[in-house]
Amino acid sequence: MSETHEIEEGATPAALPLDAWHRARGARMVEFAGYHMPIQYEGIIAEHLWTRESAGLFDVSHMGQLMFSGDDEAALEDALEALLPANIKGLAEGKQAYSILLNEEGGALDDLMITRTPTGFYMVVNGAVKWDDIGHIREHLPDAFTMNHMEDRDLLALQGPKAVDALKRVVPGVDKLYFMEAGSFLWGHEPLWVSRSGYTGEDGYEISVPAAHVAALADALCAQPEVKPIGLGARDSLRLEAGLPLYGHDLDATIDPIQASLGFAVPKRRRDGGFLGAARVLASIANGPPSKRIGLKVEGRMPAREGALIYMGDQQVGVVTSGGFSPSLQIPIAMGYVSAAHAALGTALEIDVRGKRLAAIVTAMPFVPNTYVRKGAAK
């Protein structure tokens, strides 16, 4: 039996601070983004469903945590706005935004989260491309500004409808945050940077913690009855149901944000340009992109996976970039790119899987409704 791994091959994978912690809890470890990472503990479906109904703890310490600072705050805002299509000037302290790092040609080098802190800006980038991101940013960021790669901090995500109950018992006060807000909280004497955000479509938190204390924090969180550790396998199925793109699969350097159906990452204030790659992005807004990222519900039970070709009759109109079986919906779901003419919701398409044509319908994402706790929304 041969298994088609979707895990990127690294030269010599490094151990993250929680490596022994994962192994002690029965995790199966795989290589991912240059690290040994837990793909599952008890099983992907059980972990997925647990996260949807309770709370799951994810070790995402492979991701890059960057801190930007400089004496002249307005100049730092300008410098970051030259790099990103985000509304950095309009980002209040403790507010977080999703953004996309673009190359000169308007292609996505990575997607990321950026937050204004009391002393500058905090950014979280994908683990698999963090070294390239750092090189790109350093090349384009004026020397007057400091970029600190915080390799001494780990990152945990606690996700699910009961994440708030579990976390506020361990770190009092976090329930005061709303979706896409962040702040500094004390856990005993240790300062944590906590944001109410994540990659599952559920309410939840991401917690930046000094690496020396991550195991103790992970223990404290898993001691809560709502919390179990969750592997990368369920992280992938959860984010797919949530309609969130995975960099390197659903987003890459050939894709612009509009094509990726991530137009919200280019807010109105930035639609006059002034950021790297703006020419293509603005043209994509003005003329419409040639192809678009869409969601697909697939008929039957056979999953359509990355690389499967999408057809309208005899004509190939797209390709699947992520796909699998949805544990919550119990049907196969996928995302992919199709030519703009076939991207409308409800369009009936076919996907070729090993010579079989599977019927698929263009479907709004998220596939599973998100449960974010937004400020001002009725509870």
Partner: protein, 123 residues
């Protein structure tokens, strides 16, 4: 009836010229939650070492190769509605297909249960 095992983590029950094929408990544990199994059609001629079935877990699709050559006489229709049988009963109700052996000599060199168990422990 004799049960043989392969290094590809398949088991084969042989009864005269008829063989029943499935994947081992070790294989299902490695694959994780199985959500779909694509089985060969009745009458399909399988050649040893060639693709015979595809197992889809949540995370990936995996090929299952024919451990011996033969003609498929039956595919396990229970797996259509309940692919998780491969997880819960891999070496029983979760069997994949039955075939008529076309070259029984291919069974030589396959492992018995003790040899397979020892080999899995060495992995």
């Amino acid at each position: 009836m004799t049960r043989y095992f392969t290094v590809e983590h398949e088991w084969i029950d042989v009864d005269g010229s008829t063989a029943t094929v499935g994947i081992t408990d070790y294989a299902q544990a490695q694959l994780g939650d199985i959500v779909f199994v694509e089985l060969p059609a009745k009458g399909a001629a399988l050649a040893k070492g060639k693709e015979a079935a595809v197992v889809e877990s949540v995370k990936a699709a995996s090929d299952v190769y024919a451990p011996v050559s033969g003609t498929v006489t039956e595919a396990n229709s229970a797996l259509e509605g309940e692919p998780a049988l491969v997880n819960s009963a891999p070496e029983g109700d979760g069997w994949f297909f039955k075939l008529t052996l076309s070259n029984p000599g291919e069974l030589e060199g396959l492992m018995d249960a003790n040899a397979y168990e020892a080999w899995v422990k060495s992995l």
